[in-house]
Amino acid sequence: MHSLTHRTIWLNLGSLGALVALLGLTYWLHTGPRAVPGLIEQLKDEDATARILAAQWLAKLGPDAKSAVPALVDLALNDPDQDTSAAAATAIHTLDLQASREVVAGYLPALWEADPEVRRKACVVLGSLGPVAKPAVAPLITMLDDTDELVRERAVGALGTIGIPQTEIVAALTKAMRDPASVVRYRAVAQFAFHIPVTATSLPTLMELRNDQDKSVASLAEVALEHAGQTDRQDLSNLIALLERPGEKDYALQQLAQLGPEAADAAPVLIPVLKDSLALNRYLAAEALRAIGPAAEAAVPDLIAALHDPDPIVIESAAEALEAIGTPEALKAIEPMRKENAS
């Protein structure tokens, strides 16, 4: 062919349009909820990287990926690879609170297995579930006395990611900062440097650690102390602003829950989150209100309404929040639940 007719030009232009449409269709078919069946298949791939990637992707899809929860639970509980199980657990905690608690229940017995490798994996997976793994906090605290230093180090990491209830976590991490193994001390100080707010309980130990024999621990303690010097009010207003950003909401809620009564000014903005479409956010809002305690009195009517939430984990958390607030109205609302539990 040595020449171009106008018809040829239009034909090539049309072909380009078809190519663009084909590329668009390919993209549409492989993204959003349409990707879920393929990703569930990918969770069974023999390559661990592929399984991890599928789990991370499903977590990003949010409620659209709800149908993947059984496959993710199976992966979290039974995959031989620690990172894959952890990725699956991370995905589950954003998708289904009850399934997260199933994983917690599945891993708690593993904390007392003879093989340290199994105990390490259990700590990592429990930590990956984030604040939803709150029932695992007490057993994880006992792991700080484990004979294996890597188990202790992973337990510290898990406690830091779970983050609530704040008082217990801070006490445990403060204890871990005095661990004989520097790897454990480093991990514990890192929690205060980057995740957990420094409180009066942890302050003296952090100051001592500035002279730690391990230089990396000492310099990280300096970082944590610098963070402790920042104004809390500024932190609080930043966290409240983060609540407006969809991608940062759960992070901000967890941080508010970790601030405890100091987050009292955030109570009015936490109340609407109790009606959020995502169960994780409703759970974290109830947890933050529980941590604020009596100062969150204004949230009582909405917390009572949350006792009828479709998610039992949110109900449990709302009841705990009402108990922590402790007004007569709040206590009266949880009375039937208390009686039911007692019987």
């Binding site: 040595h2 090539n12 993209y27 492989h30």
Partner: protein
Amino acid sequence: MTDEPSSSRPAGIILALYWGSLLLSLTLPWGLLTLFEISAHRRTAGEAFRYLTLHFFAPGYNYFLVGALSAAPFVVCAVFLLFHLGWNDRLEPAQRSRRMAGVLGSLILMTGVTFWTHLSALMYPDAQGALVYFFLPYVLLVVIPLGYGVGRLILAFMTMIRRNDGEPA
């Protein structure tokens, strides 16, 4: 508008440039990534290809979109070259050469900028690195007229040198 073919127009070259630039621009980032995985991360060709396909649509990677974004300005350039070189069948040979030089200038400069950008993003990854993929199409749109001008200037320069060489001393 006429449908009469003109045997003087290099249709094969025009279509090769048209489809070649489109396919090259679309596959250049994917090819570079595959080669980078082989050389920098010591993967086999099969592993590198698998890495590419696994991350093709994955959030946070989306190499498919990276390729598509990178190809978008080339689509503009390809449509331009199709009409600029192929529509008028009564172009003088000199005029056709000038247009061809301009289009080649655009395509070569665009390919160079794309190659360099993707390679830099792979070699020096950082948190804001992905932003380059969003800015690249705009940069390439600016490069189209710039490259066109450069291409024509080079041709004019070469013609001038040739003419000077041909003149008796």
